[in-house]
């Protein structure tokens, strides 16, 4: 079973601060996805990274896939209260069918005004 270790589990910061969430595994993934989930809703896809070393930016969010495709990070610059939520990384294993995802434990982010 492939595991994704996500850290930190909880993050409580002030508006305007920067933060980074990490997702690590000993296994190689064909792709890695980041989701944001709000209470009462399902996870919403933020980004998919596929190529080792790939960096993608989504406004104040920067996503990076490790060169070996075993780890990823999400960096948020100048966090806003609207960024509050549960952030999940999920990996699609090599050799498995599309859509079978292994999720990290999640990071609960709280941004205080």
């Amino acid at each position: 079973t492939q595991l994704l270790e996500q850290s930190p589990q909880f993050l409580s910061i002030q508006e305007g601060e920067n933060l980074t969430v990490y997702c690590n595994s000993s296994s190689v993934f064909s792709s890695l996805q980041w989701y944001r989930q709000e209470p009462g809703e399902g996870p919403v896809l933020l980004v998919t990274v596929v190529t080792g070393g790939e960096v993608k930016k989504l406004k104040r969010l920067t996503f990076q896939f490790g060169d070996a495709r075993k780890d990823s990070s999400l960096h948020i610059t100048a966090a806003q209260p609207g960024d509050t939520g549960l952030y999940l990384c999920a990996g699609e294993s090599t050799g498995t069918s599309y859509g079978k995802l292994t999720f990290g434990q999640g990071t609960i982010l709280t941004v205080h005004p």
């Binding site: 079973t1 989701y35 009462g40 399902g42 996870p43 079978k100 995802l101 292994t102 999720f103």
Partner: protein, 113 residues
């Protein structure tokens, strides 16, 4: 990307009873999956719902406990059988096709007394 409707959105059930959760997609999709998200935890894949054939279950999940149907390319059901308090969780349906974005439903929050 597909839009998913799940119902019920929440339910409170008695121990020993069974509940069927429905997942309706607004377009035909190749893949449909069922996940479980226990309180304060991440998502765990229960099974892949295969159209016209038996679902493919992940380790730790069995058909007798979680029977799944998928009669066509837009609809699936998950039944939680002979429920116990340990089954209290959020059950999420996800769907997608090929390179399309994998979409999640809002989830069905189940509480077993």
């Amino acid at each position: 990307s597909a839009v998913i409707s799940q119902k019920p959105s929440r339910d409170i059930c008695q121990r020993g009873t069974s509940l069927t959760i429905q997942c309706q997609v607004d377009s035909q999709v190749t893949m449909m999956f069922w996940y479980r998200q226990q309180p304060g935890q991440s998502l765990t894949l229960i099974a892949t719902a295969n159209q016209g054939s038996e679902a493919t279950y992940e380790s730790g999940f069995v058909i007798d406990k979680f029977p799944i149907s998928r009669p066509n390319l837009t609809f699936s059901t998950l039944t939680v059988s002979n429920m116990s308090p340990e089954d209290s969780s959020i059950y999420l349906c996800s769907a997608g096709s090929g390179a399309n974005v994998l979409t999640f439903g809002a989830g069905s929050r189940l509480t077993v007394l």
